[in-house]
Symmetry: C2
Subunit: 226 residues, 2 copies
DNA sequence: CACGTCAACATTGTCGACAAACTATGCTGG
DNA sequence: CCAGCATAGTTTGTCGACAATGTTGACGTG
């Protein structure tokens, strides 16, 4: 009965997942014109389920489609990428506030354990990219679900995060950022643990604001070519 | 080349629009189990395009689908409806702020004209429901597009507004609310005209907050049965 | 030599039929 | 009389073929 446990996995779902991960991982680069037949042979699918999956992806904004002219992977401009972070700022701020009000003590404990794991991970990898790619995502993922706001979690997990991850793979992590980000995560967690929703919202907004500025800087430096 | 001018209208698009309006208008009530064959005969479509449209609607959260078991119109609980307004609050606050920074003078003039039209409309209809259903939507619509934030506008116009409108049709408008809402709209407009993004955001958030409280009151009164 | 036009091609959109899965009804047994 | 199971029926998921449209290349003309 839970939406996280789909008993039967349909072909269209399979196609959807395959394409989504392929786009996020960069196997299908932004701007690529992808033919339906190519995709069918690549993922061993038929065109029916594939087209259904394409429709879903298009609706989520990961693909753009022009009738009779094929489908392309969405290509965000630099400004559009920045705008994405502005949306994240307000939405995740809300998520943090509601999470502070609604997360169970158990969930908070788990989140703390997760951050501990991230810390050792960063130390071992000497601040390598892994944290930015997965650990950060994990933290924000838990906050979103912890908000107990179904639609909010759906929009964050289903739409925004995929788009962000899609470009994050190409962002070379700056040297000290993982450590600093972890510190910010810890402070957000403590605000949540103290059930201080207002503070949690403030800290989360500032956290994402910092990430946005980091990206803007890289764009100006020309490190990030879009 | 503009996305607002689709040269060719495909059958799937047609199906998508039909279903969306049918859901929003209430022809397909929340919780209804709808069979694919019924829909095909009702809208004179074939199952291929229909399924594609269903996939899109599902991805947007207007439908829920269980494999091999059919598709139902989403049925929001009272709390979920309220949560929707919390999301609107932060997202439209952002939209108002960015609109204040980016709308052209012409767009602002048009918006002002729109509000004038709404005023005469309300006076003529003695504060009838029409304003709540269409006029309010129009105002928020213009703010969203005026933000020049593609993804933000897409999420508001493509996702949230449809869900809100779907339940708004069942909300009997309270007597004095249209007039008060119009006043709030005017103040938001003036903040935008003065390019005061911060104020515009604050006023918009308060405006939607008021709408949320209005709904919460009605739910408590038992007027709104969900 | 450049531009516009036309035609063949490839790709997408659409359709109808087959196979798999869930639901419901009726039956049997306790 | 109620519970559980089996079977029939309906609905959904999937597939392959046909039709419509955009694209690309070549050709002729100004």
């Amino acid at each position: 009965m839970l939406d996280t446990a789909p008993q039967t996995y349909t072909r269209a779902d399979e196609a959807f997942d395959c394409l989504q991960t392929a786009i996020v991982k960069g196997d299908l680069a932004p701007g690529d014109k992808i033919g339906e037949l190519d995709l069918c042979s690549r993922f061993d699918l038929t065109r029916g389920p594939l087209r259904e999956a394409l429709g879903r992806l298009e609706s989520r904004g990961l693909l753009v489609r022009r009738p009779h002219a094929g489908v392309r992977v969405v290509s965000l401009s630099a400004s559009e990428l920045v705008e994405l972070y502005r949306i994240r700022e307000v939405m995740e701020g809300l998520a943090a506030r509601q999470a502070a009000e609604r997360m169970t003590d158990q969930e908070i404990a788990d989140l703390r354990a997760t951050l501990d794991a991230h810390e050792t991970m960063i130390d071992e990898a000497h601040g390598q990219a892994y944290y930015q790619a997965e650990g950060d995502y994990d933290f924000h993922h838990r906050i979103a679900t912890g908000s107990r706001n179904t639609k909010l979690a759906q929009m964050l997990l289903g739409d925004l995060y995929y788009m962000v991850r899609m470009y994050r793979y190409r962002l070379s992590t700056s040297a000290g950022r993982p450590h600093r980000a972890l510190g910010e995560h810890r402070r957000i967690l403590e605000a949540i643990a103290q059930r201080d929703g207002e503070l949690a919202e403030f800290l989360m907004k500032r956290h994402i604001n910092a990430a946005r500025k980091n990206i803007e800087k890289k764009i100006q430096e020309g490190v990030l070519t879009i």
